[in-house]
Amino acid sequence: MAQLLWLVPLLPLLGFTALALTGGHLGRRAVAWIGAGSVGLSAALALWIAAGFLLHPPAGHAYTLTAWQWMAVEGFTPTIGFYLDPLSVVMMLVVTFVGFLIHLYSTEFMAGDPGYSRFFAYLNLFVASMLALVLADNLLFLYLGWEGVGLCSYLLIGFWYDDPDNGRAARKAFVVTRIGDVAFTVGLFVLFTHLGTLDIQPLMAQAAAQWPAGSALATTAAFLLLGGAVGKSAQLPLQTWLPDAMAGPTPVSALIHAATMVTAGVYLIARTHVLFALAPAAQLAVAVVGAATLLLAGFSALTQWDIKRILAYSTISQIGYMFLALGVGAWAVAIFHLMIHAFFKALLFLSAGVVIHALDDEHNIFRMGGLRRTLPAAFWPFLIGGLALSAVPFISAGFYSKDLIIFDAWSSASGSPWLWAAAWVGALMTSMYTFRLIFIAFFGEPRTQVTRRPGTRVMIPLVILSVLSVIGGCLELPAYMGNVHLFTGFLHLSLPAVHALAGDATETALELLSAAASLGGIYLAYVLFLRNPHWLRNLASQGTGAALHRFWFGDWAMDWLYDRLAVRPYYWFARVNRGDVVDAFYRGLALLSQALHEVLSETQTGTLRRYALGMTVGSLIVLSIAVFV
């Protein structure tokens, strides 16, 4: 059945083709069936293939399928080929399964939109590209998927193209991630030039064989790939595009900008983990980037008022955790958090979508309030998602995945107390900003009338994702709860295990501290935002408090900085040089020859005597040159 692997990405691609070629002439029902149906089939097939993989694992726990030779020039022989190992099995399942739920949700959520068919076309293309990305067996095909999802992200952020602001956000997302992609592309040049292949498995083997640990080339290549990952996964210093990307429809934010695409950087690093293990400096950079990002984004999330922007910053922050895990060598743990995060963050966004719809496109949490009673259909899923995001002990899946990361940040051979401290503070921040949102939007007095309630096709995904956000963690239980390692055990077939230096006792102690952070954050949020909101309001309205608030609200002024450093100079150059300065030279040349032409035509007087004189003088000069020189 693994032979049918190629159908998994092809089905959504066919869906896209059908929708694109019919160009909006199909009925809504047909569009919904094609759009959601193609992904649903793909998910079913993926489930079947995964079951086969688990029951009858192929030799070496990896299966390769080559569709065709993409090109072959001078030893450069990338294929359109797929590679299935435990890592890509997990990614394939997450992408198709969460993808299908969000498609299903969208069939109802987008029902009133005139661009219904266009929406599903883009969304199908996205799923196809994302599947190419996670299933590719070589880095060039992976890059195809990588750019494909970037394009779909652009198209879907700017889906409501009438508003120029949406267009701006869309372009920003594409351009900023492409800056990272320049590094990625150069990384591909380095890898191919020095190792002679881009097929991931041979490439990793070659790298391990040819490059000693810490060698300059390995470090360069790893840093370049990290550049691509940082752009795509919205990590420092390229995180600025993600909050703006919330301009897209909410299902898009859930699928692309929370569950799948933005985690592509995490996948890339996990996929090329051999290379990063050869480059300790780059791997440390991954950890530091992750730690710094999760903190910075946490502070920014605390100050936002737009429900989707808060969630966007929380995504940046949670991917920071994944980077931290990768950086300390806890590859499988990073992927575990990636999967759990896909469940609960999709859940959060989808329930936020219900709220936004119900309140007539209201994004401001301060104008919501009381939704606990007026819109329970959104409250309960959101609460479950929020608990998972805050990693509340035992009852949420996020607890099991995030606390593994926090523990590994301390105990791994490449971990450190500093990284642990950052992760711990981040955990405190996370539950604080999450419950700030929940307390303000769902508790207190209702401020806006609820006008619409969700139907079945919206509720089914919410229920399924809620269940997953609660029980998903059972795949991986700590020592004191039975020591279950189903997930990491499976992934360790393709990713090395983390070398933990600390024992079970430390684990228990650290988890207690993490639990304290999680619950403490909720308590702080309760005190500061529900019981005594005036405290912070006073603090943030004057002096340094206000400045700090502005600073965090504006994403640590990085947007401002990039605007001054790059965007404005580029616009300035374009404005100044619109007429092309090089052409001035040729225009000058033309003017000069025109002037000379006028001077010379003056000599054309028609007077015979002048001509005779000229001829005589000329002959004399020529003769004297001939005679005397």
């Binding site: 694109a20 160009g23 909006g24 065709w68 030779q69 993409w70 090109m71 072959a72 020039v73 001078e74 450069f76 359109i80 060039l140 890059y143 195809l144 750019e147 494909g148 394009l151 652009y154 198209l155 700017g158 193209y161 009438d162 508003d163 120029p164 267009g167 869309a170 372009r171 594409f174 351009v175 492409r178 800056i179 992609d181 320049v182 592309t185 150069v186 591909l188 040049f189 380095v190 191919f192 030039t193 580029y570 150059f573 374009a574 404005r575 040089n577 619109r578 092309d580 090089v582 052409d583 030279f585 040729y586």
Partner: protein
């Protein structure tokens, strides 16, 4: 003989189209279409019948040749030949020729016969350029393609057509003069070394030249081709000519005529003067990189939609210059792929711009916006072409750019990295095009019909080609392979390195 017919069919077709014009405009359109169709069939036959079938990499480089004595005293022959590179360029020329006849179907309403005459003769000249292997004959065709193009711009162009036509003519003519001098210099140098006059490409290939003479002669050729390509800073004729030309003129200019410059670099500059060109390579590569970035930045700056596309050509052709002078097969294959891909996507973009101008009577992007509402098919096509232009993997341009950069990385890391930054600049101008034309708020109210069936057929064909070459570029790569490896290992180099002296 098939090579001669390739050219003759277009010349005769052009005359017939001219004669038919006064009777009914449709006649000359159909005559042009028919002769281009016949020609394309001939070229395809040549491609398929070539030794080893479509996969030319297994046969020798030469698919067909034809030699007639012309002016024996000076050793001038009527010498046509075709290898994979010539065939690729021929097919590109004919495909775009058909596309531009179809694109002018409703746009050109005056002197229709003479228009098609000029179009076909310009294409015939271009085919001659791609097939001539006698330098005199080559120069002759170089001029033949120029004059009808001048008329196309000057007679059927837009507001500033005379200025643009004269500028185009002066730039190409002026630079052509340098090439003529270089050709003569090469012939005389060959004469003084061997005692025979010859203009034949294959005889001249082995000519041994003093290094500084070789450098000057190489520069003569390079200058002509660099203007045609165009390389920054010789590019300023292009935005004017492309913008002012009628749609068919722009398509042919961008899709085909620019390729004669690139073709000349690969066919003449590199094999005839390997040492000199190799020494000059760093400069040429740097010019290529400058072109990539400068073209992209200026494309972004434009308000005129057609100028934007014109400047994007400069950026794309920068990759070709970089690839040719990176001096390895990987980059050279990339350059050829980029030539084909650029021809298809930019040709299609110019058709789109022409269609927009025909409907809106303006090219000012400041007056457009939200055209997707009125013309969703046009919008989808435009979006696709913009995305192809910015080098999305899976589409033809990506293959060209990636192979070029992969090859040039071995030669110069700094230049390659700088060129890669061009990917960001390309994204910026491609997205601003989509934004200003198809997205955003409507600035004026336009009641315009969407692309019709004829235009959609053309566009879908070109799009299908771009996708096909993006996911399976091997036919192009295989076809070009023997010609390109021959270009990189010319006999001249062998003669010099072995020091064989008479």
């Amino acid at each position: 003989m098939i090579l001669l017919w390739l050219i003759l069919v277009l010349l005769i077709g052009g005359l017939l189209a001219w004669l038919a014009g006064p009777r009914h405009p449709l006649w000359s359109r159909w005559v042009s279409l028919a002769s281009l169709g016949v020609d394309l069939a001939l070229a395809l036959a040549l491609w398929v019948e070539a030794p080893g079938g479509v996969d030319l990499s297994r046969g020798g480089p030469w698919v067909a040749t034809l030699t007639w004595s012309w002016i024996p005293t000076f050793g001038i022959n009527f010498h046509l030949a075709a290898d994979g590179l010539s065939i690729l360029m021929t097919m590109l020329t004919l495909v775009l020729g058909i596309a531009s006849v179809l694109a002018s179907w409703t746009e050109i309403r005056e002197r229709v016969g003479f228009f098609h005459f000029n179009l076909l003769w310009s294409l015939a000249g271009t085919l001659g350029v791609f097939l001539a292997f006698d330098l005199f004959l080559f120069f002759f065709f170089w001029e033949v393609m120029l004059v009808p193009m001048y008329f196309l711009i000057a007679l059927w162009g837009h507001e500033r057509r005379i200025y643009a036509a004269i500028k185009f003519f002066l730039f190409t003519q002026g630079s052509g003069l340098f090439m003529l001098i270089a050709i003569l210099g090469l012939v005389f140098a060959h004469h003084s070394a061997t005692g025979t006059y010859t203009f034949d490409y294959f005889d001249l290939l082995g000519t041994r030249l003093a290094p500084h003479l070789a450098m000057w002669l190489m520069l003569g050729f390079f200058f002509a081709f660099a203007v045609k390509l165009p390389a920054v800073p010789f590019h300023t004729w292009l935005p004017d000519a492309h913008t002012e030309a009628p749609t068919a003129g722009s398509v042919i200019l961008a899709g085909v005529l620019l390729k004669t410059g690139a073709y000349g670099l690969i066919r003449f500059v590199v094999p005839l003067f390997p040492e000199a060109a190799h020494r000059f390579a760093p400069v040429a590569m740097a010019l290529g990189v400058v072109g990539i970035l400068y073209g992209a930045m200026l494309a972004f700056a434009q308000r005129d939609l057609k100028r934007l596309v014109a400047y994007s050509s400069i950026s794309h052709l920068g990759f070709v210059l970089l690839g040719v002078f990176a001096w390895n097969l990987l980059a050279l294959q990339g350059a050829v792929m980029q030539m084909v891909a650029h021809g298809l996507t930019t040709g299609a973009l110019f058709i789109m711009v022409g269609a927009i101008q025909e409907r809106l009577h303006t090219r000012d992007m400041g007056r457009m916006g939200a055209l997707w509402h009125a013309m969703p098919r046009m919008g989808a096509v435009g979006l696709f072409l913009a995305v192809a232009s910015l080098g999305l993997p899976g589409l033809a341009n990506f293959v060209g750019e990636f192979l070029t950069l992969l090859g040039s990385y071995r030669v110069s890391v700094p230049l390659t990295v700088t060129a890669t930054v061009g990917l960001v600049a390309a994204t910026v101008y491609a997205l601003i095009l989509v934004q200003k034309v198809f997205h955003g708020r409507p600035r004026e109210h336009w009641e315009a019909a969407d692309l019709g069936a004829r235009a959609m057929a053309v566009m879908l064909t070109l799009i299908a080609l771009v996708v096909w070459l993006g996911v399976y570029p091997q036919p192009v790569l295989n076809t070009a392979h023997p010609a390109l490896s021959a270009a990189l290992t010319p006999p001249a180099r062998v003669a010099l390195s072995t020091g064989a002296a008479p």
